[in-house]
């Protein structure tokens, strides 16, 4: 029925199957929308946040998705500024993932604030000293950039492209895409960084506080760096998952390997910096505030030293070392492992920099406060995952996202009636839903700005 909309030269599952999958994702979406409406109408008492946890799951989700969506700006940066031309085969998908991540982040922010109708105050009455202002501005501006980058992709749909105006528009936009990409990279640098600054400037919260370079705390740079390092890993991971679900190769290995290699070196440099930062913080910064390292990791049921080891060693050093070796990148298992660890690592880092900051008692006579999200928080956090799945499904079906797909999967003239992609698609949906729920946390995480 919708064959006219499907890009030429590729095979997609039958429409009913597609719609069924879409429907399943919508169920999850509606659950999230219901929770979202509850939060808007009844207020934030629907969450398990409290006066100790002014920030909780949502802010973490925000930072995590932005970090993971960092693949878009960094890949764009590599493709258009550095000139890694090969990345043109994956950049569409990176942009799409970035678009999903950033629009989700904005949505979550809109739920998270106590007075959504006053949300625009952050722009109008901006306090430029606040990291959150910087986040809001750069995030919104970068979201415009992502829209601009996603737009030509939408216009390339077979039917839309027939309109000369749109066709020309696409063409023109491609011509100056480097300018947009550069602007995006510039904005991303600041919003990823300022997300890191959010905790880093809190001189009343020694767990998050870091020394400054100019006006920016160390975390500012760490967040940007880690997003640039781990964002592409998330792009790779989602690409791999899509391939697995579609049961066909969509991007050539050399493209993936190139991205993985760059990502690996970024991670290595990041984790070195992170390690130095952690040591400096533990030995100099925190004690100057009167707190020993043990204060942050003992006397409570959850936050122990394990979290530090998991984040820095297992999800930091290990993937970095895997990805910088040729073997590690070529071996599918280690590649999968590395990108998964990297995604977990950056999500965990965002969790720690949001929630542990607040969990640590600063006044000596108060206790740790632990937090567990309410179902409304979980549902609204999964909402963007469902939304992402839906958007990916539709985009994959109707837009030429993977330029190499046709080449990698040549259509045999007499196409078999029931074909891999279809079965694939359905499984895809399910698996994606599931998987996204899992990394979903990742999805929703705070990315650095």
């Amino acid at each position: 029925m919708d064959t006219a909309l499907i890009p030429k030269g590729v095979k997609r599952c039958p429409l009913p199957q597609f719609l069924a999958g879409l429907g399943a994702a919508h169920v999850v979406l509606l659950w999230g929308v219901f929770a979202m409406l509850l939060c808007w109408l009844k207020g934030l008492n629907q969450t398990n946040m409290n006066n100790a946890y002014g920030f909780a799951m949502w802010i973490w989700a925000d930072r995590a998705v932005i970090a993971l969506g960092g693949g878009a700006f960094f890949t764009g940066f590599l493709r258009y500024i550095v000139g890694k031309d090969k990345l043109k085969y994956i950049i569409n998908y990176a942009v799409l993932i970035g678009f999903i991540c950033y629009s989700s982040a904005l949505l979550i922010l809109a739920i998270d604030i106590g007075q959504p109708l006053r949300g625009w105050f952050i722009f109008w009455h901006a306090n430029v000293h606040s990291m959150l202002t910087e986040v809001a501005f750069c995030l919104t501006a970068y979201f415009f950039v992502l829209c601009v980058e996603y737009l030509p992709l939408v216009l390339e749909n077979r039917q839309i492209d027939k309109v000369p105006f749109f066709h020309n528009l696409t063409h023109n936009m491609h011509e100056i895409m480097a300018v947009f990409a550069a602007t995006g990279a510039f904005l991303s640098f600041f919003h990823q960084g300022s997300l890191g600054g959010v905790a880093g400037v809190l001189f009343g919260r020694p767990f998050g506080f870091r020394e400054h370079i100019l006006i920016w705390p160390f975390t500012f740079f760490l967040f940007t760096w880690s997003a640039a390092a781990c964002g592409p890993c998330f792009t790779i991971l989602i690409t791999k998952i899509t391939e697995a679900i579609a049961r066909k190769k969509l991007v050539k290995d050399d493209v993936i390997e190139l991205l993985a290699k760059i990502s690996g070196w970024m991670m290595l440099t990041y984790i070195i910096a992170k390690t130095i930062d952690t040591i400096y913080w533990a030995v100099v910064t925190a004690p100057s505030k009167g707190l020993a390292l043990s204060h942050f990791y003992t006397n409570n049921a959850l936050y122990g030293y394990w979290i530090l080891i998991l984040e820095v060693v297992i999800c930091g050093w290990v993937p970095a070392l895997i990805l910088i070796t040729d073997k590690g990148r070529k071996n599918q298992f280690t590649l999968w492992l590395a990108v998964i660890l990297a995604v977990i690592g950056v999500s965990l880092n965002r969790w720690v920099m949001v929630l542990q900051v607040l969990a640590v008692p600063v006044m000596p006579f108060i206790k740790w406060v632990l937090y567990f999200p309410s179902w409304q928080e979980v549902a609204t956090t999964i909402l963007p995952v469902a939304y992402g799945v839906i958007l990916i499904m539709i985009s994959y079906r109707y837009l030429p996202i993977f330029p190499q797909e046709a080449e990698l999967n040549p259509l045999e003239p007499p196409a078999l009636p029931e074909d891999e992609p279809e079965a694939g698609e359905e499984a895809a949906q399910e698996a994606e839903v599931q998987e996204d729920q899992k990394t979903g946390e990742g999805d929703l995480q705070p990315a650095e700005a």
Partner: protein, 236 residues
Amino acid sequence: MSTEDEQAKAVSEDEISEIPETGSPEIGENEQDGSGAMIILFFILGFVASLIVGWIIFPKLLYSQKQQPVAFNHAMHNELVDEGCESCHFFREDGSYSGVPKLAQCIDCHEEVQGESEAEEYFVTEYVQKEREVPWLIYAKQPPCVFFSHVAHVKKGDMDCVTCHGNIGESESLRVYEENRISGYSRDIWGSNIGGFKKNSWDRMKMDDCAECHRKENVNQGSVQTEKGACFVCHR
């Protein structure tokens, strides 16, 4: 943003194979016709229509009109009293401002009907005799988040009433009170001009108007964030 080559290829294929199947050529033709004038005309139509809606119709819908409960003649009262505005709108000993007079004050003179005005008779029968407070609508009423000190402006700042309230003291009748249907504010806060433009100092009573004067007069410019007036000077 797929790569161009690829895309170009796809597009040309499409053109060849599919255009005949769909209805899109029509669009192409129209375009070719170049009825640009039509397009521009409709653009202008839409533009003008929305301007009319935004500037003329919208303000009419936004404000509800309310009549004051009693027709009051400021000019006439002003002639009869000795101390000008402060005769009725006075300060209490603690520096607070009495605002619109309560019935008890009015009764000082209007225990019985004084003159021949119908309004007064109505006032006496409906309010004085029934001991009901008059539900005056206050044009200059600020929202509850505002701390406005009359005494600071009048006694300390030596301002006259006209600066903020205009010439209401010389009016012979009370104009219609307009209430913002959404926010509940009196229209005088935003100003009668929907665009927010003002000619006189009393045309608008938004925060920026207060701030403007405070900056000029250097009133408590102690804010760290804005280097202007600190919030708690006017808010609470």
